[in-house]
């Protein structure tokens, strides 16, 4: 009962949101990963559980909701942020949030910055991950679908990371990554391609056309 009154603004914001199907897919992914017990199938139940158990989801939720221009919407967002405090300082999403595809998952979200040109579906980030600018005047990364980014990995500058890529922990990626690869190390090297162990350096000229979106 207590929780239901607490999350009333969240429910209204969720129902009114234009991003509702994206939030649905996010919630499905989070529930699929954590597999909580005794959770009903309705999206409201999932929302209640996630808001209660995972502050990093609260951050993502506020980012997905976006900004309202009307007075009612702004009041609702204000109320929502008063009742569930987000981890504002340690998990940052750059705007516009629509650049992040549905099914985005962040584990714990300590010290993570997500500023990308575009992120595909079902991206997974870990604590300490940074996606962002390399230096002044450089662009932002473009990330494909089903990319797993390990803890403490950094993807910097206008690089294109292909689909189904795994970026190892503490790797620093500043060049394009072809699809279906595993990269690791500083600077990042390809250590696995299509499931076969290899040792290749990354080149700036790696095919960007087939990678990314």
């Amino acid at each position: 009962m207590m929780q239901k009154t607490r999350m009333f603004p969240h429910v209204v914001l969720y129902k009114r949101s234009s991003n509702r199907d994206v939030i649905d897919r996010d919630m499905n992914r989070w529930v699929e990963i954590y597999r909580p017990e005794k959770i009903g199938d309705s999206p409201i139940n999932k929302l209640a559980w996630l808001l209660e158990a995972h502050p990093e989801f609260v951050n993502l939720f506020y980012a997905r909701i976006g900004r309202y221009s009307g007075i009612v919407g702004r009041m609702l967002v204000y109320l929502a942020k008063k009742t569930y405090q987000p981890l504002l300082e340690t998990l940052r999403f750059a705007e516009p949030i629509n650049s992040i595809g549905p099914g985005f998952f962040a584990r714990v979200g300590f010290g993570a910055v997500v500023a990308a040109e575009k992120i595909g579906e079902n991206c997974w980030i870990n604590p300490g991950t940074t996606l962002g600018y390399r230096d002044e005047g450089s662009g932002l990364p473009v990330i494909g679908d089903n990319v797993y980014i390990g803890a403490g990995a950094k993807i910097l500058g206008s690089v294109i990371v292909g689909d189904n890529v795994i970026v190892g922990a503490n790797a620093v990626v500043t060049k394009n990554v072809p699809p279906n690869c595993t990269v690791a190390g500083v600077p990042a090297r390809i250590i696995r391609r299509d499931g076969v162990r290899v040792k290749e350096a990354l080149h700036a000229s790696h095919p960007p056309a087939e990678a990314g979106t």
């Binding site: 300590f110 300490g128 390990g150 803890a151 503490n170 690791a184």
Partner: protein, 214 residues
Amino acid sequence: MIQVLRKLTRKMELYPLRLLLERSPSKAMIEKDIHRWILMHNRPMSGSSVPEKLAWLMYAMNLEEFRNVLFYRIGTPTKFLDRSLLSLCKTLFPPRGTLLLATSAIGPGLVIMHGFGTFVDAEKVGENCLIFQDVVIGCKNEKNDRPTIGNYVHISVGAKVLGNITIGDHAVIAANSVVTKDMPPNSLAVGIPARIIRNAGNRAEYVASGDIPA
């Protein structure tokens, strides 16, 4: 006059926490923790009592990460009095927000330095471990496999320990290294992916054991 008042308010502030620690079932473990935190911060207070040590850690050092360890040890009590005391303590002494100890079994004498962005999700952590900031101990590649960590292990800044592996006693994991393979006792891991140096020996033992020479 002001100093007397300050001392009095501090005593009153610390009172619920002391009461909670007295009532907690893991009291012995907490005392071991306090002893080791004092040692690691280079202040052997051999003669003084536990409340004095606690006051020193809480006020003179003002360690937020120490509060995290305390609240982790207390856990979620069942009795109403304990629960209300705990919530009071958490408002009086807010713990560090970016330090999460998700492991169910952590041995006594755990020391965490700074603890910014530290996430400990191991199967088991042994006694007297030392963990620094930005460390991630957890699953590898979307699987549900967690590492097991031995006694007297030293995990340095930014190191990542991932997957279903075992870290032996007295192992040292160097800064920013990524460990995804088993480590024997007394070994040292450096680099991405970590090269493991066996029998790093006495030096490693000295670093991790926390026996600070006089």
